[in-house]
Structure formats: structure tokens, C-alpha cells
């Protein structure tokens, strides 16, 4: 390792990774991905130039959407390749060390944490479930029904209609939130762990309707069909919610030992 290169860490796995697992896999700097082992753990790493992945370079490159997209997709691809061979802990993007020895230090120092996390994710896969509700449409429907009988044109009728609109919206939001709570509880029954995350902003999701559930679940591989069936059943059961299933994902959301099930 030279001074102008660093070591980018993709994932940590407990097993001795077979060589073919990462042979032919290239990383964020188009570098061949390799394994660094210590303390019974294996870190999947790549040597990256600090000119592009050093502190200052990272800071500015991370602001570049095109660069970020390529790097994020590549990081995810490498992690996914590892996970197909063995249970692994994905590291957050841009974890860079000065050399292999430093990576070994971390494997030794954090061995207990890695072991605990590996135990949690072994034989399990992360699945994402998002639920959307068109609150406006539901509320508008309710007002339409409620307001059809009232006389229109007078001030009182206007005020009543306005009040109905506001309360219908509130009702619709509450109903959607309740259904999201129930859905989350239901999905937890089919998974080993799960958590709700803040909803993705509509500008990022590109959707007009409200995301009422942004859940992610760690599911036993033996129960993945059961989980998928539960989601499929929920599509019909939860009237007014539109469900989106994503995955399988490497266990990003369950990688940290401090991230217990809330």
C-alpha cells in the first residue's frame, strides 16, 4: 500500500470467503475486490486512490450525483455479491482505511460487534415494504358523500362543507396511519426483526400519494415465501393502501448491533 492509496471496505463476513466469491468483482474504483482476514473475520475490500477517495476528494465527490450514483450502485453490487456467498455485514458507504493493517486492527477490535451482527443476519434477508395512501382522494370521497345532501351557496353551507373537508382529511390521515400501524405489526409477525424508517420525501419517491409506511424487515430465508405471501395478502386486505415490496437486500438496516428492534 502506498501513501496515495486507501482501503475501501464493502462488507465483513465471518466465513473464509472462497476465492471465486469475489474474483472478477470490481469495486468503486474499478479495482479488483479482495479479502483481508483477521480474528476469524474477513473484510471484503478494494484498494482505491486517495486522489478520488481521500478525505477532501470524497467530500466534493459525494456532492456529485453522477459519481455518487455509480459508487453507491457499485458498493451495493459488491456487498450483494458477498452476501450471496455468506452472511455478511454491509458497511456504510465511504468507510476507508489507510492500509490493510488498519482493517485488521478494526476486525480485531470490533470482533464481538461483528459476531453479534453476523449472528443476527445469518440465514436472513432484508426486504423493504412501503405503503402509500392517497389521503386527498380518500378525504375528497368522504366529503363528496357527506356534502351531497346539504344546500349549497349559503354561507352556512360553505362553512359546513369546509369543516367537513378538514375533518374528512384528518379522518383519512388517521385511518391511513392506523392501517400502516396494523400492517407493520402484521409484517413483524412474519419476520425476525423489522423497523420503520422516516418516509421517503415525495420529491425523492416521485409519488403524489403519502408514504404512510417505510418499513424494512429481516426475514428468515426459510420464511421468505411466507413473507411475500403476507405482503400479497395485505394488498387486498388493506383497502386504500398501495404496497411496494423491494428486495432482497443485503441486511443494511440490521448491520449495526446498536440498531436493535425498536
Amino acid at each position: 500500500m502506498t501513501a496515495d492509496h486507501g482501503v475501501w471496505v464493502y462488507a465483513v463476513t465471518g466465513a473464509d470467503l472462497p476465492e471465486e466469491a469475489v474474483s472478477g468483482v470490481t469495486g468503486v474504483a474499478r479495482e479488483p475486490v479482495r479479502a483481508v482476514s483477521a480474528a476469524g473475520l474477513t473484510a471484503v475490500v478494494g484498494t482505491v486512490p486517495l486522489g478520488e477517495f481521500g478525505e477532501e476528494a470524497l467530500r466534493s465527490n459525494l456532492e456529485n450525483l453522477e459519481w455518487l450514483e455509480t459508487v453507491a450502485r457499485t458498493h451495493d453490487a459488491v456487498v450483494s455479491a458477498v452476501v450471496r456467498w455468506a452472511p455478511a455485514i454491509p458497511l456504510r458507504l465511504a468507510t476507508v482505511y489507510l492500509d490493510d493493517a488498519r482493517v485488521c486492527d478494526v476486525l480485531e477490535a470490533r470482533r464481538a460487534d461483528f459476531d453479534a451482527a453476523l449472528t443476527l443476519v445469518a440465514g436472513r434477508t432484508e426486504w423493504g415494504v412501503k405503503a402509500y395512501a392517497d389521503v386527498e382522494a380518500i378525504a375528497a370521497g368522504a366529503v363528496e358523500t357527506a356534502g351531497s345532501g346539504s344546500e349549497k351557496g349559503t354561507g352556512t353551507a360553505y362553512l359546513l362543507r369546509r369543516k367537513a373537508q378538514l375533518s374528512a382529511r384528518e379522518d383519512a390521515e388517521r385511518a391511513a396511519a392506523d392501517r400502516a400501524d396494523t400492517l407493520h405489526a402484521l409484517l413483524l409477525q412474519h419476520s425476525a426483526a423489522g423497523r420503520r424508517q422516516p418516509p421517503t420525501d415525495p420529491t425523492l419517491s416521485g409519488r403524489r400519494d403519502r408514504m404512510v409506511l417505510n418499513g424494512t424487515y429481516l426475514v428468515d430465508d426459510a420464511r421468505s415465501d411466507e413473507f411475500a405471501d403476507a405482503v400479497a395478502a395485505a394488498r387486498t386486505q388493506f383497502d386504500g393502501l398501495e404496497l411496494e415490496l423491494t428486495g432482497p437486500w443485503p441486511p443494511y438496516s440490521f448491520a449495526g448491533v446498536d440498531r436493535g428492534n425498536p
Binding site: G6, V12, L50, F53, G54, E55, L58, R59, L62, E63, L65, L68, E69, A72, R73, T74, H75, D76, A77, S80, A81, R84, I89, P90, L91, R92, L93, A94, T95, V96, Y97, L98, V106, R110, A117, W127, G128, Q197, P198, P199, T200, D201, T203, L204, S205, G206, M211, A228, L243, E244, L245, T246, G247, P248, W249, P250, Y252, S253, A255, G256
Partner: protein
């Protein structure tokens, strides 16, 4: 607005690099999740947060970004309690604005009603003054 990747509703097998997966879905995981351990190369977490915010604005169409304002994540009641408060304050502000408009309108109407009277008073004063002048 369209998001890069399009957001498929069907699950995809991993390993394919998630090439067709919604970029937002990937970033949500590789930036916000994954095991966080301190590297030798320090990238400030706050920087990353700043970045995702900027990124979200980049992904959003310019109009949307403008419409939602640069601090949308704070004002969205679904994202923060601060936003919920802001929404309530916003409603109050709207009411205040409406109140002010109504008060202005009333003042205007009252002024219009008073105007002819005021003019008469003025005339009267002028006459009075003339009278005084005559006296002097």
C-alpha cells in the same frame, strides 16, 4: 416528476447490482444504513446528511425544489414534529393574513363612508376661517 430508476414494485434478485432499482432505495440504505465504523478517512456524518438533502433537491425537479423550499424536510409534518408545529403556525399565519386583509377592507369601507362627511367638515372650517378673517 420521475425518479431515476423508476421504482419497480416487483422485487429483484440481488447481485445484479440493482441496476434497475430506484436510486433512492439504494441511497437510503448505503448512506443511511450499513454498519458505521470510524474509518481513517473521516467523512463527517453531517456532511453526508447535507449531501442527501442536496441530492434530494437535485433529484427533484427545479420547480418542485423551489415549491417545497430548501427546508422542506423540516416543514413536512410527516417528517418532523417541528414541521407539525410549523404547519399549525402556518395556519395561524394564514388566519392572521386573512384577518389583516379583512381589517384593511373594513377600514377602507369605513373611510369611504366617512369621506363625504369629512369633506363637509372641511368646507365648514374654511367658511369659519373666512368668517374669522372678516372679523379681523
Amino acid at each position: 416528476m420521475t425518479v431515476v430508476g423508476g421504482g419497480s414494485s416487483s422485487p429483484q434478485p440481488y447481485g445484479g447490482g440493482h441496476q434497475s432499482t430506484n436510486l433512492g432505495d439504494i441511497l437510503e440504505r448505503v448512506l443511511d444504513k450499513g454498519l458505521v465504523i470510524a474509518g481513517d478517512i473521516q467523512v463527517n456524518l453531517l456532511d453526508i446528511e447535507l449531501l442527501t438533502i442536496k441530492l434530494r433537491l437535485v433529484i427533484a425537479s427545479l420547480e418542485t425544489a423551489k415549491a417545497v423550499g430548501i427546508d422542506w424536510w423540516e416543514t413536512d409534518p410527516w417528517l418532523s414534529s417541528k414541521g407539525k408545529r410549523a404547519e399549525i403556525e402556518g395556519t395561524q399565519q394564514d388566519l392572521e393574513v386573512e384577518n389583516r386583509k379583512l381589517r384593511d377592507r373594513i377600514a377602507e369601507l369605513e373611510a369611504a363612508r366617512r369621506e363625504p362627511v369629512a369633506a363637509e367638515v372641511e368646507d365648514a372650517e374654511v367658511e369659519d376661517a373666512e368668517v374669522t378673517d372678516d372679523d379681523g
